[in-house]
Amino acid sequence: MTTAATAAVDLAAPLLAGVLGTAGAGKLFGRRAGTSASRTALARLVRGGHRAARALRGLGALELLLCAALLALPPSAATGGAAIALGAGFLGYLGYARYTAPGSSCGCTAGDDGPVGGRAFARAAVVLVGGVAVTLAGHPWWATAPRQPAATAGAVLAAVAGALVLAPDHRRQPWRTLRLRLTGHPLDGTRAVTRVPVAATVELLERSLAWQRAAPLVRSALLDHWDDGGWRILQYAGVHTGDGAARPVMVLFALDAAAGRDAVREPAVRVSVLDADTGESVAVTA
Protein backbone atom coordinates (compact mmCIF):
# COMPACT_ATOMS: atom_id res chain seq x y z
CA MET A 1 0.00 0.00 0.00
CA THR A 2 1.14 3.59 -0.59
CA THR A 3 1.89 5.80 2.39
CA ALA A 4 -1.29 7.82 1.88
CA ALA A 5 -3.40 4.67 1.69
CA THR A 6 -1.76 3.27 4.81
CA ALA A 7 -2.40 6.55 6.62
CA ALA A 8 -6.05 6.54 5.46
CA VAL A 9 -6.51 3.03 6.82
CA ASP A 10 -4.94 4.07 10.13
CA LEU A 11 -7.23 7.10 10.32
CA ALA A 12 -10.39 5.08 9.65
CA ALA A 13 -10.90 4.45 13.38
CA PRO A 14 -11.65 8.06 14.47
CA LEU A 15 -13.73 8.72 11.34
CA LEU A 16 -15.79 5.60 11.96
CA ALA A 17 -16.03 6.63 15.61
CA GLY A 18 -17.50 9.95 14.46
CA VAL A 19 -20.17 8.19 12.39
CA LEU A 20 -21.07 5.74 15.17
CA GLY A 21 -20.89 8.42 17.87
CA THR A 22 -23.42 10.77 16.22
CA ALA A 23 -25.80 7.95 15.28
CA GLY A 24 -25.49 6.29 18.72
CA ALA A 25 -25.98 9.54 20.67
CA GLY A 26 -29.04 10.33 18.56
CA LYS A 27 -30.59 6.93 19.28
CA LEU A 28 -29.76 6.95 22.98
CA PHE A 29 -30.45 10.59 23.89
CA GLY A 30 -32.60 11.94 21.02
CA ARG A 31 -35.76 13.63 22.28
CA ARG A 32 -37.91 12.15 19.57
CA ALA A 33 -36.22 8.76 19.60
CA GLY A 34 -39.06 7.19 21.58
CA THR A 35 -41.90 8.40 19.42
CA SER A 36 -40.17 7.86 16.09
CA ALA A 37 -39.21 4.28 17.00
CA SER A 38 -42.78 3.16 16.42
CA ARG A 39 -42.54 4.29 12.78
CA THR A 40 -39.46 2.20 12.07
CA ALA A 41 -39.44 -1.18 10.42
CA LEU A 42 -37.85 -2.39 13.67
CA ALA A 43 -41.24 -1.98 15.35
CA ARG A 44 -42.56 -4.62 12.99
CA LEU A 45 -39.52 -6.87 13.52
CA VAL A 46 -39.77 -6.87 17.33
CA ARG A 47 -43.59 -6.52 17.35
CA GLY A 48 -44.20 -3.25 19.19
CA GLY A 49 -43.22 0.42 19.33
CA HIS A 50 -42.03 0.24 22.96
CA ARG A 51 -39.82 -2.72 22.28
CA ALA A 52 -38.49 -0.99 19.17
CA ALA A 53 -37.64 2.10 21.26
CA ARG A 54 -35.79 -0.07 23.80
CA ALA A 55 -33.97 -1.94 21.04
CA LEU A 56 -32.93 1.33 19.38
CA ARG A 57 -31.63 2.71 22.67
CA GLY A 58 -29.67 -0.50 23.28
CA LEU A 59 -28.21 -0.26 19.79
CA GLY A 60 -27.32 3.39 20.44
CA ALA A 61 -25.44 2.38 23.61
CA LEU A 62 -23.59 -0.31 21.65
CA GLU A 63 -22.61 2.22 18.99
CA LEU A 64 -21.29 4.64 21.62
CA LEU A 65 -19.32 1.86 23.27
CA LEU A 66 -17.74 0.92 19.96
CA CYS A 67 -17.09 4.60 19.27
CA ALA A 68 -15.18 4.88 22.57
CA ALA A 69 -13.24 1.69 21.84
CA LEU A 70 -12.27 2.93 18.37
CA LEU A 71 -11.01 6.20 19.82
CA ALA A 72 -9.21 4.84 22.88
CA LEU A 73 -7.84 1.44 21.86
CA PRO A 74 -5.24 0.62 19.22
CA PRO A 75 -6.81 -0.88 16.06
CA SER A 76 -7.49 -4.57 16.37
CA ALA A 77 -9.42 -7.38 14.76
CA ALA A 78 -11.87 -7.20 17.69
CA THR A 79 -12.96 -3.56 17.20
CA GLY A 80 -12.78 -3.86 13.42
CA GLY A 81 -14.74 -7.10 13.51
CA ALA A 82 -17.38 -5.51 15.72
CA ALA A 83 -17.79 -2.65 13.24
CA ILE A 84 -17.98 -5.12 10.32
CA ALA A 85 -20.66 -7.08 12.13
CA LEU A 86 -22.57 -3.89 12.90
CA GLY A 87 -22.37 -2.67 9.28
CA ALA A 88 -23.43 -6.06 7.93
CA GLY A 89 -26.27 -6.17 10.46
CA PHE A 90 -27.44 -2.70 9.37
CA LEU A 91 -27.39 -3.73 5.70
CA GLY A 92 -29.39 -6.86 6.46
CA TYR A 93 -31.91 -4.91 8.53
CA LEU A 94 -32.30 -2.24 5.83
CA GLY A 95 -32.86 -4.91 3.20
CA TYR A 96 -35.48 -6.48 5.44
CA ALA A 97 -37.14 -3.09 6.06
CA ARG A 98 -37.17 -2.21 2.38
CA TYR A 99 -38.69 -5.60 1.56
CA THR A 100 -41.32 -5.89 4.31
CA ALA A 101 -42.26 -2.30 5.10
CA PRO A 102 -41.24 -0.01 2.22
CA GLY A 103 -42.90 3.08 3.71
CA SER A 104 -41.37 2.81 7.18
CA SER A 105 -38.29 4.65 8.36
CA CYS A 106 -35.08 2.88 9.31
CA GLY A 107 -34.39 4.58 12.66
CA CYS A 108 -30.75 4.74 11.58
CA THR A 109 -30.17 8.22 13.01
CA ALA A 110 -32.42 9.98 15.49
CA GLY A 111 -35.00 12.30 13.96
CA ASP A 112 -34.62 10.77 10.52
CA ASP A 113 -38.13 9.64 9.78
CA GLY A 114 -37.92 9.38 6.04
CA PRO A 115 -38.43 5.98 4.46
CA VAL A 116 -35.43 3.69 3.95
CA GLY A 117 -33.50 5.10 0.99
CA GLY A 118 -30.18 4.81 -0.81
CA ARG A 119 -28.35 7.01 1.66
CA ALA A 120 -29.24 4.73 4.56
CA PHE A 121 -27.71 1.78 2.67
CA ALA A 122 -24.62 3.86 1.86
CA ARG A 123 -24.18 4.81 5.54
CA ALA A 124 -24.38 1.14 6.56
CA ALA A 125 -21.84 0.25 3.86
CA VAL A 126 -19.50 2.98 5.19
CA VAL A 127 -19.63 1.35 8.65
CA LEU A 128 -18.80 -2.03 7.12
CA VAL A 129 -15.91 -0.69 5.01
CA GLY A 130 -14.66 1.30 8.01
CA GLY A 131 -14.62 -1.91 10.04
CA VAL A 132 -12.52 -3.62 7.38
CA ALA A 133 -10.10 -0.67 7.40
CA VAL A 134 -9.76 -0.80 11.20
CA THR A 135 -8.98 -4.50 10.97
CA LEU A 136 -6.24 -3.80 8.42
CA ALA A 137 -4.78 -0.76 10.22
CA GLY A 138 -1.16 -1.08 11.36
CA HIS A 139 -0.84 1.82 13.79
CA PRO A 140 -3.11 3.66 16.22
CA TRP A 141 -4.57 6.85 14.73
CA TRP A 142 -2.95 9.08 17.36
CA ALA A 143 0.46 7.91 16.13
CA THR A 144 -0.30 8.33 12.42
CA ALA A 145 -2.07 11.71 12.48
CA PRO A 146 0.92 13.88 13.60
CA ARG A 147 3.26 12.07 11.21
CA GLN A 148 1.02 12.51 8.17
CA PRO A 149 -0.58 15.99 8.47
CA ALA A 150 -1.41 16.22 4.75
CA ALA A 151 -3.08 12.80 4.64
CA THR A 152 -4.92 13.62 7.86
CA ALA A 153 -6.25 16.89 6.44
CA GLY A 154 -7.30 15.08 3.27
CA ALA A 155 -9.07 12.37 5.25
CA VAL A 156 -10.92 14.98 7.34
CA LEU A 157 -12.01 16.85 4.19
CA ALA A 158 -13.17 13.63 2.55
CA ALA A 159 -15.06 12.75 5.73
CA VAL A 160 -16.82 16.15 5.78
CA ALA A 161 -17.78 15.82 2.10
CA GLY A 162 -19.00 12.28 2.72
CA ALA A 163 -21.00 13.44 5.74
CA LEU A 164 -22.70 16.12 3.61
CA VAL A 165 -23.59 13.68 0.88
CA LEU A 166 -24.75 10.91 3.19
CA ALA A 167 -26.32 13.01 5.97
CA PRO A 168 -29.97 12.29 6.73
CA ASP A 169 -32.41 14.96 5.46
CA HIS A 170 -32.79 16.89 8.70
CA ARG A 171 -29.04 17.56 8.88
CA ARG A 172 -28.68 18.82 5.27
CA GLN A 173 -30.31 22.19 5.88
CA PRO A 174 -27.24 24.46 6.19
CA TRP A 175 -25.76 22.94 3.04
CA ARG A 176 -28.93 23.60 1.03
CA THR A 177 -29.17 27.21 2.23
CA LEU A 178 -25.52 27.82 1.38
CA ARG A 179 -25.92 26.32 -2.09
CA LEU A 180 -28.94 28.54 -2.77
CA ARG A 181 -26.93 31.61 -1.74
CA LEU A 182 -24.04 30.68 -4.00
CA THR A 183 -25.96 29.63 -7.11
CA GLY A 184 -29.03 31.89 -7.05
CA HIS A 185 -32.67 30.84 -7.00
CA PRO A 186 -33.09 27.66 -9.05
CA LEU A 187 -36.63 28.65 -10.06
CA ASP A 188 -35.82 32.18 -11.25
CA GLY A 189 -36.74 31.04 -14.76
CA THR A 190 -40.41 30.85 -13.80
CA ARG A 191 -40.52 34.59 -13.11
CA ALA A 192 -41.08 35.30 -16.80
CA VAL A 193 -44.01 32.89 -17.17
CA THR A 194 -47.10 34.96 -17.98
CA ARG A 195 -49.56 32.08 -18.40
CA VAL A 196 -52.44 32.29 -15.93
CA PRO A 197 -52.62 28.92 -14.11
CA VAL A 198 -55.91 27.05 -14.46
CA ALA A 199 -56.07 27.12 -10.64
CA ALA A 200 -56.26 30.92 -10.84
CA THR A 201 -59.14 30.83 -13.34
CA VAL A 202 -61.02 28.26 -11.25
CA GLU A 203 -60.51 30.43 -8.19
CA LEU A 204 -61.77 33.47 -10.08
CA LEU A 205 -64.86 31.51 -11.10
CA GLU A 206 -65.56 30.00 -7.69
CA ARG A 207 -65.52 33.43 -6.09
CA SER A 208 -67.75 35.06 -8.73
CA LEU A 209 -71.42 35.87 -8.68
CA ALA A 210 -71.88 33.59 -11.69
CA TRP A 211 -70.72 30.61 -9.61
CA GLN A 212 -73.01 31.56 -6.73
CA ARG A 213 -75.93 31.60 -9.12
CA ALA A 214 -75.13 28.44 -11.06
CA ALA A 215 -73.62 26.31 -8.27
CA PRO A 216 -76.90 24.59 -7.31
CA LEU A 217 -76.96 22.95 -10.75
CA VAL A 218 -73.38 21.71 -10.55
CA ARG A 219 -72.66 18.20 -9.27
CA SER A 220 -69.12 17.42 -10.37
CA ALA A 221 -65.85 19.20 -9.72
CA LEU A 222 -64.00 20.58 -12.75
CA LEU A 223 -64.53 18.01 -15.52
CA ASP A 224 -62.47 19.54 -18.31
CA HIS A 225 -60.99 22.84 -19.39
CA TRP A 226 -59.41 24.32 -22.50
CA ASP A 227 -58.42 27.65 -24.02
CA ASP A 228 -59.94 28.88 -27.27
CA GLY A 229 -59.62 32.30 -28.87
CA GLY A 230 -58.59 34.09 -25.65
CA TRP A 231 -61.31 32.38 -23.65
CA ARG A 232 -60.83 29.69 -21.04
CA ILE A 233 -63.74 27.25 -20.96
CA LEU A 234 -64.44 25.36 -17.74
CA GLN A 235 -66.77 22.37 -18.01
CA TYR A 236 -68.80 20.85 -15.16
CA ALA A 237 -71.49 18.17 -15.03
CA GLY A 238 -74.76 18.78 -13.25
CA VAL A 239 -78.42 17.95 -12.93
CA HIS A 240 -81.26 20.22 -13.89
CA THR A 241 -84.79 19.75 -12.73
CA GLY A 242 -86.96 21.57 -15.18
CA ASP A 243 -90.41 20.17 -15.84
CA GLY A 244 -90.46 17.98 -12.78
CA ALA A 245 -87.97 15.56 -14.33
CA ALA A 246 -84.29 15.63 -13.55
CA ARG A 247 -81.97 15.58 -16.53
CA PRO A 248 -78.20 15.52 -16.73
CA VAL A 249 -76.72 18.75 -17.97
CA MET A 250 -73.36 20.18 -18.80
CA VAL A 251 -72.58 23.53 -17.20
CA LEU A 252 -70.06 25.61 -19.16
CA PHE A 253 -68.33 28.75 -17.95
CA ALA A 254 -66.30 30.99 -20.25
CA LEU A 255 -63.80 33.42 -18.72
CA ASP A 256 -61.03 35.62 -20.07
CA ALA A 257 -58.04 33.23 -20.23
CA ALA A 258 -55.67 36.01 -19.19
CA ALA A 259 -57.67 37.25 -16.21
CA GLY A 260 -56.51 36.59 -12.66
CA ARG A 261 -58.15 37.45 -9.37
CA ASP A 262 -55.62 40.21 -8.67
CA ALA A 263 -56.40 42.11 -11.85
CA VAL A 264 -60.15 41.56 -12.02
CA ARG A 265 -62.42 42.15 -9.06
CA GLU A 266 -65.70 41.44 -10.79
CA PRO A 267 -65.10 38.99 -13.62
CA ALA A 268 -67.50 38.74 -16.53
CA VAL A 269 -68.41 35.07 -16.74
CA ARG A 270 -70.54 33.55 -19.47
CA VAL A 271 -72.68 30.69 -18.25
CA SER A 272 -74.36 28.06 -20.44
CA VAL A 273 -76.34 25.00 -19.56
CA LEU A 274 -76.56 22.23 -22.17
CA ASP A 275 -78.44 18.96 -22.17
CA ALA A 276 -75.77 16.32 -21.56
CA ASP A 277 -77.31 13.89 -24.05
CA THR A 278 -78.21 16.13 -26.96
CA GLY A 279 -75.95 19.15 -26.47
CA GLU A 280 -78.95 21.42 -26.83
CA SER A 281 -79.19 24.55 -24.77
CA VAL A 282 -81.38 24.16 -21.68
CA ALA A 283 -83.65 26.92 -20.49
CA VAL A 284 -82.93 27.20 -16.80
CA THR A 285 -85.54 29.03 -14.85
CA ALA A 286 -85.69 29.10 -11.11
Binding site: E206, R207, Q212, P216, R219, L222, E266
Partner: protein, 152 residues
Protein backbone atom coordinates in the same frame (compact mmCIF):
# COMPACT_ATOMS: atom_id res chain seq x y z
CA UNK B 1 -70.88 23.02 -5.28
CA UNK B 2 -74.22 21.39 -5.63
CA UNK B 3 -77.12 22.45 -3.49
CA UNK B 4 -79.09 20.19 -1.22
CA UNK B 5 -76.91 17.22 -2.04
CA UNK B 6 -75.47 14.78 0.39
CA UNK B 7 -74.45 15.57 3.90
CA UNK B 8 -74.49 19.22 2.92
CA UNK B 9 -77.61 21.24 3.55
CA UNK B 10 -79.04 24.67 3.24
CA UNK B 11 -80.05 26.55 6.37
CA UNK B 12 -81.99 25.45 9.45
CA UNK B 13 -79.79 22.63 10.58
CA UNK B 14 -79.99 21.10 14.00
CA UNK B 15 -76.26 21.59 14.42
CA UNK B 16 -76.32 25.31 14.85
CA UNK B 17 -77.73 28.68 13.94
CA UNK B 18 -75.82 30.98 16.31
CA UNK B 19 -73.02 32.74 14.51
CA UNK B 20 -69.64 31.68 15.92
CA UNK B 21 -66.92 32.89 13.57
CA UNK B 22 -65.98 33.39 9.95
CA UNK B 23 -62.82 32.98 7.94
CA UNK B 24 -61.17 30.55 5.57
CA UNK B 25 -61.57 26.78 5.64
CA UNK B 26 -58.91 24.40 4.36
CA UNK B 27 -58.81 20.59 4.45
CA UNK B 28 -56.52 17.96 5.93
CA UNK B 29 -56.41 14.18 6.21
CA UNK B 30 -56.29 12.09 9.35
CA UNK B 31 -56.74 8.58 10.63
CA UNK B 32 -54.02 6.31 9.25
CA UNK B 33 -55.20 6.67 5.67
CA UNK B 34 -53.13 6.38 2.48
CA UNK B 35 -50.17 8.52 1.46
CA UNK B 36 -48.60 11.07 3.77
CA UNK B 37 -51.66 10.58 5.98
CA UNK B 38 -50.38 7.15 6.99
CA UNK B 39 -48.76 8.51 10.14
CA UNK B 40 -51.35 11.17 10.96
CA UNK B 41 -53.23 8.93 13.39
CA UNK B 42 -56.50 9.88 15.03
CA UNK B 43 -55.50 13.51 15.62
CA UNK B 44 -55.52 15.50 18.86
CA UNK B 45 -58.81 13.94 19.95
CA UNK B 46 -57.92 10.42 18.86
CA UNK B 47 -61.13 10.08 16.84
CA UNK B 48 -60.30 11.80 13.56
CA UNK B 49 -61.02 10.00 10.28
CA UNK B 50 -60.83 11.48 6.79
CA UNK B 51 -64.09 9.83 5.80
CA UNK B 52 -66.14 11.37 8.63
CA UNK B 53 -67.69 14.81 8.82
CA UNK B 54 -65.14 16.28 11.19
CA UNK B 55 -63.01 19.37 11.63
CA UNK B 56 -59.91 20.70 13.30
CA UNK B 57 -60.30 23.85 15.39
CA UNK B 58 -57.33 26.11 16.30
CA UNK B 59 -58.45 26.44 19.91
CA UNK B 60 -59.36 22.85 20.71
CA UNK B 61 -57.18 23.06 23.84
CA UNK B 62 -54.51 25.21 25.42
CA UNK B 63 -51.77 23.03 23.91
CA UNK B 64 -53.46 23.33 20.53
CA UNK B 65 -53.67 27.12 20.80
CA UNK B 66 -49.94 27.29 21.50
CA UNK B 67 -49.32 25.60 18.13
CA UNK B 68 -51.86 27.42 15.95
CA UNK B 69 -51.65 30.90 17.58
CA UNK B 70 -54.55 32.57 15.74
CA UNK B 71 -54.11 35.54 18.10
CA UNK B 72 -50.96 36.46 16.15
CA UNK B 73 -53.28 37.20 13.21
CA UNK B 74 -55.75 39.05 15.43
CA UNK B 75 -58.19 36.13 15.76
CA UNK B 76 -59.27 35.53 19.36
CA UNK B 77 -61.19 32.35 18.64
CA UNK B 78 -63.12 30.82 21.54
CA UNK B 79 -62.17 27.43 23.01
CA UNK B 80 -64.21 24.58 21.51
CA UNK B 81 -62.94 21.19 22.57
CA UNK B 82 -63.13 17.71 21.11
CA UNK B 83 -66.72 16.74 20.32
CA UNK B 84 -68.01 20.29 19.78
CA UNK B 85 -70.43 20.48 16.86
CA UNK B 86 -70.36 23.27 14.30
CA UNK B 87 -72.10 24.15 11.08
CA UNK B 88 -69.78 25.37 8.34
CA UNK B 89 -71.37 27.27 5.48
CA UNK B 90 -69.68 27.99 2.18
CA UNK B 91 -70.05 31.71 1.85
CA UNK B 92 -70.38 31.69 -1.93
CA UNK B 93 -72.85 28.88 -2.52
CA UNK B 94 -74.64 28.88 0.86
CA UNK B 95 -74.19 25.11 1.15
CA UNK B 96 -73.32 23.94 4.65
CA UNK B 97 -72.13 20.88 6.50
CA UNK B 98 -72.25 19.83 10.16
CA UNK B 99 -68.93 18.80 11.65
CA UNK B 100 -67.53 17.57 14.96
CA UNK B 101 -64.27 18.99 16.30
CA UNK B 102 -61.80 16.08 16.24
CA UNK B 103 -58.36 17.60 15.89
CA UNK B 104 -56.24 20.69 16.35
CA UNK B 105 -55.62 23.01 13.40
CA UNK B 106 -55.12 24.76 11.04
CA UNK B 107 -51.87 26.61 11.77
CA UNK B 108 -53.50 30.02 11.47
CA UNK B 109 -50.30 31.91 12.33
CA UNK B 110 -48.53 30.77 9.15
CA UNK B 111 -50.99 32.54 6.85
CA UNK B 112 -51.94 35.76 8.63
CA UNK B 113 -54.15 38.17 6.68
CA UNK B 114 -54.77 35.75 3.80
CA UNK B 115 -58.34 36.18 2.60
CA UNK B 116 -60.88 34.49 0.34
CA UNK B 117 -63.71 36.47 -1.14
CA UNK B 118 -67.10 35.92 -2.69
CA UNK B 119 -68.40 38.55 -5.02
CA UNK B 120 -66.63 41.24 -3.01
CA UNK B 121 -67.20 39.98 0.55
CA UNK B 122 -63.96 38.65 2.03
CA UNK B 123 -63.17 36.27 4.89
CA UNK B 124 -59.75 36.54 6.43
CA UNK B 125 -57.43 34.00 8.12
CA UNK B 126 -57.55 30.21 8.19
CA UNK B 127 -59.79 29.34 11.10
CA UNK B 128 -60.99 25.80 10.45
CA UNK B 129 -59.65 22.65 8.81
CA UNK B 130 -62.19 20.16 7.44
CA UNK B 131 -61.78 16.45 6.72
CA UNK B 132 -62.01 15.50 3.01
CA UNK B 133 -65.55 14.20 3.62
CA UNK B 134 -66.69 17.52 5.10
CA UNK B 135 -64.80 19.79 2.71
CA UNK B 136 -65.98 17.95 -0.40
CA UNK B 137 -69.56 18.24 0.80
CA UNK B 138 -69.40 22.02 0.36
CA UNK B 139 -66.60 22.49 -2.21
CA UNK B 140 -63.96 20.91 -4.39
CA UNK B 141 -60.89 19.36 -2.75
CA UNK B 142 -58.74 20.59 -5.62
CA UNK B 143 -59.57 24.20 -4.73
CA UNK B 144 -58.07 23.68 -1.29
CA UNK B 145 -59.55 26.74 0.41
CA UNK B 146 -62.97 28.35 0.84
CA UNK B 147 -64.48 31.37 2.57
CA UNK B 148 -66.87 30.14 5.26
CA UNK B 149 -69.23 31.28 7.97
CA UNK B 150 -69.33 29.07 11.08
CA UNK B 151 -72.34 28.53 13.36
CA UNK B 152 -72.86 26.51 16.51
Amino acid sequence: MAGSRGPAHHDHMACGSTSLWNGEATWFCCGNAWGPCATAGGGACGTCKSSKLQAAWPNASKACWDITRPDLCGEKLPRRGCGSVMKVRHQCSGVSVCVTVSDCGPRTRSFCSESSCCDGTCRTNRVIDLTPAAFSAIGSLSSGILPVVIFE
